[in-house]
């Protein structure tokens, strides 16, 4: 904020405080994603339980961001880029809260997956999670740096995550056909993959808000590839 300091210094510190809270939420959500996948890979029930517990802090932070943004808008009536900043913080905190929920959801499934330890799908999930984490990190870094260009890159990498999801979907279908006894567990894995895919979409949403806050323009939706579901319907 050094270059665009406001006459009322309290405004800068209010906005800085809100951005700090959003970033803190983001850090917690990132950690939750990484920890949930690690818990899954090692079937670490303690870590899984801790993630579920810590999601509360993300929820509390969201409420705090909301309170402070409303207060800022009410007291200071921000305009132009300041208003965009405030609105973006509000929306991004909502999105991060969802990301935290998805990570929690993954953690909740860990105790149900004891027997799938060495299956092929379990080998793909960590790679997909890494790709998703990279997107979330990219989006939050772009937020911290107000970097519209970096936000565009995040949007572009969503395609990789979609590829992962489609690849996993097929692998899991095959796996279920070959191992009918493990259908319950495979279904859980499918939900985990879906959760990761949704986190990727939410990272894109954050990137869109960052772009909007930085430029005032809407980031045009990336061109969708051929509909994966249509292709699947043909084959299955």
């Amino acid at each position: 904020m050094a270059t665009t300091g406001h006459t009322v210094k309290a405004f800068d510190s209010d906005l800085g405080q809100i951005r700090g809270l959003v970033s803190e939420m983001g850090g917690r959500a990132e950690a939750a994603i990484a920890a949930s996948i690690e818990a899954l890979a090692r079937l670490d029930l303690d870590t899984a339980a801790r993630i579920v517990e810590e999601d509360r802090k993300i929820d509390e932070l969201e409420a705090e961001v909301e309170r402070q943004v409303i207060r800022l808008i009410a007291l200071r009536a921000p305009m132009a880029d300041d208003l965009r900043d405030a609105v973006a913080a509000l929306k991004i905190s909502g999105v991060i809260e969802r990301i935290g929920d998805y990570a929690k959801n993954i953690a909740k499934r860990v105790p149900l997956l004891a027997e799938l330890r060495n299956s092929e799908p379990m080998a793909i999930l960590p790679a997909m999670a890494r790709s998703v984490s990279d997107m979330v990190r990219g989006a939050l870094d772009a937020y911290a740096a107000r970097d519209a260009k970096a936000a565009v890159l995040v949007q572009e990498s969503d395609r990789h995550v979609d590829d992962f999801y489609n690849s996993l979907f097929r692998t899991l279908l095959t796996y279920m056909m070959e191992n009918p006894t493990s259908i319950t567990q495979s279904a859980h894995l499918l939900f985990i993959a879906k959760n990761l895919e949704r986190i990727g979409d939410h990272a894109t949403n954050i990137a869109e808000m960052v772009y909007f806050a930085a430029t005032g323009d809407q980031l045009v939706d990336r061109p969708r590839g051929p509909d994966p579901y249509a292709a699947m319907a043909e084959r299955t």
Partner: protein, 413 residues
């Protein structure tokens, strides 16, 4: 003087925000006039406020901790800048100074930002926002990059001022991981050729005896092939671990990618008969990329080699090097052939992942080619994209930062 400049900048900003507001409100001429007037009013107000602030209260922003009291004493910035580890001076929750290492690691925006924006990690947040502003240290995994390990230490310097230091332990961790990985996948991959070598040796010893020359020659040829494959595997593993060990140190030599592509194509043409299919399209006046020549040459060898191996033997392999948006240079290697089924695409850069294990082994592949390419691209802070259409062909695109841009960025920092 600086203050007047500052006010001028603010005035322009206020004007433009007034304009933006007017345009947002609807682009009637009246609205625009009102917006401009508002902007002018705001500028005046701002200027008055600054004048008032400078006379009544004195410097506000510039007053934060101690810049050079006497010529003999070194300035705080210089002291911070002389340390290689990232250092941040934090006042309350706001970063007031960051040395060059911190800016390189965390981004230019950190100065004057909230500390939670600069270092986004729950463990760090707990330590840094804890009441009482105590000191202490904590290990941070995944700050800036999933594989990086930092130790963050906080040293209280005053009632609200603290010095935050980050030290990097990524290299130690990378070495450890490499050892684990090597044992995990190399032992498995080396077993296959070893098993067949032993099998052939036993057969030669037992069944056919020393007299059967034709069988012996055939077996020896197979054994030599397997032994060479093992050698290539070991070579690839070694180069992979070298690249990984250097991963966090971006290479900065000027490498003319176009010339290097031409050179690689020539070498390949000299060593293998199918390399006549390579066609080159290199844009004129390309800026050099910021890179490591040996590694980029390996990247080109692997990509063009793959295209020759898996593309249709009657169709060309097109290599192009051109300028791309955002100060990048784009290298594309395209083949025409069967292509790769989409479900394999996300996993191609995994170590030892093969679309068709039989075909890859028959072609002498180690299963590490694209993993090496990926790591080289990551080390060069570039981007890798593999697109493939079944029945049409595969195009691998690599974006690498041009050197000129890197220099400008450094100057801007």
């Amino acid at each position: 003087m600086e203050r007047i400049g500052f006010t001028a900048v603010m005035g322009v900003l206020a004007l433009s925000s007034g304009l933006a507001l007017a345009i947002a409100a609807g682009s009637e001429p009246l609205g625009i006039t009102a917006g401009v007037l508002g902007g002018v009013g705001l500028t005046l107000l701002l200027w008055l406020a600054r004048m008032w602030a400078s006379t009544e209260i004195g410097p506000a922003r510039d007053a934060v901790p101690a810049a050079s009291p006497s010529p003999s004493e070194p300035r705080v910035e210089d002291v911070l800048g002389a340390v290689d580890d990232p250092l941040l001076l934090v006042e309350g929750r706001q970063v007031v100074r960051a040395n060059a290492a911190a800016i390189a690691a965390l981004g230019e925006h950190v100065v004057d930002d909230d500390i939670r924006l600069a270092i986004r990690h729950p463990a760090a947040t707990e330590l840094l926002t804890r009441d009482g502003h105590a000191g202490g240290s904590v290990e941070l995994i995944g700050l800036g990059d999933a594989d990086r390990v930092w130790t963050l230490s906080v040293l209280p310097l005053g009632p609200t001022t603290r010095l935050v230091r980050l030290s990097d332990h990524s290299a130690t961790r990378a070495t450890e991981r490499m050892r684990v990985d090597f044992v995990a996948n190399a032992s498995h991959e080396l077993r296959t050729p070893l098993a067949s070598l032993i099998g052939f040796i036993e057969t030669l010893e037992d069944a056919n005896g020393p007299d059967d020359a034709t069988i012996r020659i055939r077996f020896l040829a197979i054994m030599a092939g397997e032994a060479r494959r093992m050698q290539r595997l070991v070579d690839d593993l070694i180069s992979l671990s070298r690249i990984e060990a250097d991963k966090h140190r971006a290479p900065a030599d000027a490498v003319p990618l176009g010339a290097l592509a031409r050179e690689t194509a020539d070498t390949l043409r000299g060593s293998r008969s199918d390399a006549a299919r390579i066609t080159l399209a290199i844009e004129d006046g390309l800026p050099p990329v910021s890179g490591d020549r040996a590694q980029l040459s390996q990247l080109l060898h692997n990509l063009i080699g793959n295209a020759l191996k898996y593309g249709d033997a009657a169709k060309p392999v097109r290599v192009s090097v051109a300028r791309d948006a955002g100060g990048m240079v784009r290298l594309a290697v395209a083949d025409e052939g069967d292509g790769i089924p989409p479900r394999h695409l996300p996993r191609l850069t995994e170590r030892f992942y093969r679309v068709d294990p039989g075909r890859s082994r028959a072609a002498g592949g180690t299963g590490l080619g694209l993993a090496i390419v990926k790591h080289i691209v990551e080390r060069h802070r570039g981007r890798l994209d593999i697109a493939s259409t079944q029945g049409v062909g595969t195009t691998v695109t690599v974006l690498l930062p041009a050197l000129v841009e890197a220099r400008n960025a450094a100057a801007a920092e």
